[in-house]
Point group: C3
Chain length 130, copies 3
């Protein structure tokens, strides 16, 4: 944890700047005062090629960010942290909002602890780095 999936419609083309966005998202998770261990950060994008948005009449675009975190984080921390994250994402897409019809959304969910399984040797790599 955290897991973060960024869905984006292909009509955004180069304007989406998806790779830079994924980097910013991972950096934001790292900058969490240790709440999210670096070795658990997994951010990825899914490009959507088939979609219908709103009335289907215009070339509307959208981006949807789905975050899954472990349960039990402090509610005040979550509100502040993910509020900042969404402001960061909005800023990333400011040029898109200025030039086209666009819907941006983000959902943060907690994983059920009982149904969570993991094995990860990235933590070890990070620990042993100079």
């Amino acid at each position: 944890m955290p897991h973060c999936i960024v869905e984006y419609t292909s009509n955004l083309g180069e304007d989406a700047q998806i790779r830079p966005l994924l980097k910013k998202l991972a950096a934001k998770f790292r900058d969490s005062e240790g709440v999210f261990p670096t070795g658990g950060i997994r951010v990825r994008a899914i490009r959507l090629d088939e979609y219908v948005v709103a009335d289907g009449e215009a070339d509307d675009a959208f981006v949807n960010v789905m975050v899954k975190i472990g349960s039990g984080r402090d509610p005040a921390f979550k509100e502040r942290f993910f509020g900042e994250m969404f402001e960061m994402i909005k800023a990333h897409f400011e040029p898109v909002f200025e030039t086209r019809s666009f819907a941006l959304s983000m959902y943060v969910e907690e994983a059920d602890k009982d149904g969570s399984y993991k094995e990860n040797n990235i933590h070890a790599r990070l620990k042993h780095q100079p």
Copy 2:
């Protein structure tokens, strides 16, 4: 909201008629007596190229529809509306059911309000249209 993701196995080929299905789904959401604002409708498909179905012995196909809506809608409305939506999807795939082994499913979930973030200028486009 609503978000709607249609997963479909690639062995359906042209028989899936995915683009027409996405259009029907978006139209159904628009036809909701204002419960689902048009500007928030985002329907997309994900094509599956790697899968194993049932006993893995036949060329079985499946379609899975995942809907996410805002919380707090009337339970009776939801039961009626999504019952109608599933009947519509079943009718769409009637030719598929008649000719092959096929599993169809739909899941409707509500987003947790506390973890939901959005920014959308499509509503504004729709408002200012003639």
Copy 3:
């Protein structure tokens, strides 16, 4: 049910052995003493081409398995069955763990019965087989 989605980063290449993994997962669901009917098993993979993992500095890889099952299964059964499933997945990726930085995770969720819809003629195919 069950639904099972395997996300994997494309940098795993042939080492992921995704097709064999999907087959093993489907076989494990079939080997559930009837808890999971064979006709409802739908296992698929989603290949990820755009991602940032951990500190973004190394060529880290990950696999994330998302399982959705019907509600109401016995907690002790779930703990045993999915514990075994995760051990099986770990064993599958043992060669990967030995050679690179890699994060493996699995999440098991129950679908809300009220929001679940299905139609499936694969059960009938299986019943009428010799």
